[in-house]
């Protein structure tokens, strides 16, 4: 989606899924980054007419367009990520980001010494509030007295791409006492993680596994397996199963990242606590509130 292919996060995940597919199968794919809204429809049609099948698109902004285009190309399969489009030849993939955010929130609360953690969102849209809300719930689950400082970077798409501001927001949060920050801000997050590393506090990455960006300084990452979703859609090819597909903790679509870069940061205790919650969510025992369900968040 708008924000650029190499945001080290959402879009990059989609791209790497596609690349993985192409490397494994030798298939070829075309990709386009859009420059304008009117082009969304155009791109879909042109790809469909050129015989691309399936066509995978990432980002909720395609929703409207797809619902108009899909019926015109009944033989083409579409997959859309982050949005639900009800059409017989469309597979809609949505993620339970609030669940993953909950998990990293728990992690952050445990890692925090000051009892204050931060959240830095990208553009202020419901989706990002959904991230924030899940995160706060996770933090409070561990430490009900914790403070969560929340900032959104901006209100225009430029907010996905403003690391300078991300960096300054991080500094501001640090000066308010935050010692773990969670960046759900696309390219802006690069600045957040950088500053957190510079200033010696911990950060939490998003969408892709960002632990390696500053080894030993990124606590964990909330992984939204967009790459998997894209990979699966492409692997399925014309046989793509259409319909509604929720990716959550339960089916591995959402997870938090553990690897050699953050092994030293996460104690066994911390991991145990988070894994317990993960199991509960997976089994349905624990329901994390979804901001989008009613446009509000039970905790601040």
């Amino acid at each position: 989606d708008l924000g650029g292919k190499f945001d080290k996060s959402f879009n990059e995940a989609a791209f790497s899924g596609a690349t993985r597919w192409s490397e494994e199968t030798g298939g070829s794919f075309r990709e386009i980054e859009l420059q304008s809204e009117a082009q969304r429809e155009q791109a879909l049609r042109r790809f469909a007419e050129a015989g691309a099948n399936p066509i995978v698109m990432t980002g909720f902004a395609f929703g409207n367009v797809l619902s108009e285009v899909a019926p015109d190309y009944p033989d083409t399969k579409f997959a859309i990520i982050d949005m639900v489009v009800d059409a017989p030849n469309v597979r809609s993939v949505v993620f339970n980001e609030h669940e993953g955010s909950y998990l990293v929130g728990m992690m952050a609360a445990q890692a925090s010494k000051s009892g204050t953690v931060g959240f830095i969102g990208g553009m202020d849209i419901p989706l990002i509030r959904k991230f924030a809300c899940g995160y706060v719930q996770g933090v409070k689950a561990v430490n009900p007295d914790a403070t969560v400082i929340q900032n959104m970077t901006g209100t225009t798409p430029a907010a996905w791409n403003d690391p300078v501001k991300g960096s300054e927001l991080t500094k501001a949060q640090i000066s308010q006492g935050a010692d773990v920050v969670y960046a759900a801000a696309g390219g802006t997050g690069v600045g957040v993680l950088q500053t957190a590393a510079d200033e010696g506090i911990l950060s939490v990455g998003v969408d892709s596994n960002q632990n390696h960006l500053h080894s030993g300084k990124v606590l964990t990452s909330m992984m939204k397996r967009v790459d998997n979703a894209v990979y699966e859609a492409m692997t399925a090819g014309v046989d793509l199963e259409t319909g509604f597909n929720v990716m959550g903790v339960a089916n591995g679509g959402i997870d938090y990242a553990m690897d050699e870069h953050n092994a030293a940061l996460v104690s066994a205790d911390m991991k145990a606590t988070v894994d317990a919650a993960k199991d509960q969510i997976a089994s349905g025992e624990l329901a994390v509130h979804d901001y989008m369900s009613d446009n509000s968040c039970p905790v601040e």
Binding site: G4, N161, V164, K165, E168, A172, S175, E199, G200
Partner: protein, 336 residues
């Protein structure tokens, strides 16, 4: 708001004011010579990219700075060609330069690094790192004490807080930018070059008939403008940030122009104006402070628009009719 919070906000203001100040002084030279430059934004952007790219290749922030300044100067020369040599419309030339920089930086970044129009992150000596002044509490002390820096500072006395938080710990370019203010004042009002520069912005015909070349004077000013914009851009990508991302100037060139008007084209006022705009931007990052001060929850959108709204308010309310250098914006045409 306690003293330390105030210092923190001011600290952020200084950091954020630095690119504004450099760009504002750049604009000052240009407009004082009679050439309006709304392409500050584009020059900074181009400089930010080239500085980051060359700093990455060389591993040396100073090499990056030079490259950034070079890129900015190239755009300056284009502006000079358009507005001095070919006596075209200066506003339009500025608009074109902004577009050119916006497109070219991403194009070049993509073609060199293939990372979607950004440069790889800069590390170590490829960045301008904060300088710790003598006796200040800095990251080294924090490392030695094995405690967060913020805590150490919080425990220090007020003067030490002031010194360590606000005065120390900026990158060299911040201090350089601050030094540029008195240097500019001195150059403008105490030297022959300054006299001529001010004159050519007021009445180029007077300069011309006094036997001085209007063209060269203006190119001189435009060149200085390019250098300062170059430093501003390098600061953005290799001091404030660790690398280039597209459109990273985010309107700073325009805010700098507003500051220039607010400052009535005077260097010392420019410092205050830029610090004020820096403060607005710093406050935007601290909704908690605004909420404490006003006792209201502030909408993010309002917060984000705050610097722009305040700019308009200041221009309308406090500056009134600012009188620019008389010849600024008009090409000097002897014969038609």
């Amino acid at each position: 708001m306690d003293f330390l919070t105030l210092l923190q906000v001011l600290d952020t203001s200084v950091r954020l004011a630095t690119p504004l100040l450099l760009a504002c002084l750049a604009g000052l030279y240009s407009e004082r010579s009679g050439v309006v430059d709304i392409g500050l934004e584009g020059k900074m952007l181009a400089a930010a990219f080239f500085a980051a790219a060359f700093a990455f290749y060389s591993g040396n922030a100073w090499v990056g700075l030079l490259a950034g300044v070079g890129a900015s100067i190239v755009l300056s020369i284009i502006h000079g060609l358009a507005s001095v040599t070919f006596r075209g419309n200066q506003l339009i030339s500025g608009v074109a330069i902004n577009f050119l920089a916006a497109g070219m930086t991403v194009l070049a970044a993509q073609s060199w690094f293939r990372q979607g129009g950004r440069t790889p992150p800069l590390e170590g000596a490829a960045r301008f790192n904060p300088i710790e002044l003598p006796f200040a509490i800095g990251p080294n002390d924090a490392a030695a004490a094995e405690r967060p820096l913020s805590q150490l500072i919080a425990e220090a006395g007020p003067f030490q807080q002031f010194y360590s938080e606000l005065i120390s710990g900026h990158s060299i370019l911040v201090y350089l930018a601050l030094l540029t203010v008195p240097a500019t004042w001195w150059l403008l009002f105490r030297t022959r070059f300054g006299l001529r520069l001010r004159a050519v912005g007021e009445n180029p015909a007077a300069v011309d008939t006094a036997g001085i070349s209007v063209v060269w004077l203006r190119y001189g000013a435009i060149l200085i403008c390019g250098i300062l914009c170059g430093v501003a851009g390098a600061y953005l990508s290799s001091a404030l940030q660790a690398g280039f991302v597209k459109d990273m100037t985010a309107g700073r060139g325009f805010i700098a122009l507003a500051a220039l008007i607010f400052a009535k084209w005077r260097p010392v006022y420019a410092l205050w104006a830029c610090l004020l705009f820096g403060l607005f931007q710093a406050l935007e990052l601290r909704p908690d402070i605004i909420e404490n001060l006003t006792g209201m929850k502030v909408q993010v959108q309002l917060l984000g628009a705050l610097p722009y709204i305040l700019t308009v308010v200041i221009l309308a309310g406090f500056v009134g009719k600012a009188i620019p250098p008389r010849a600024s914006g008009e090409p000097y045409i002897k014969e038609r």
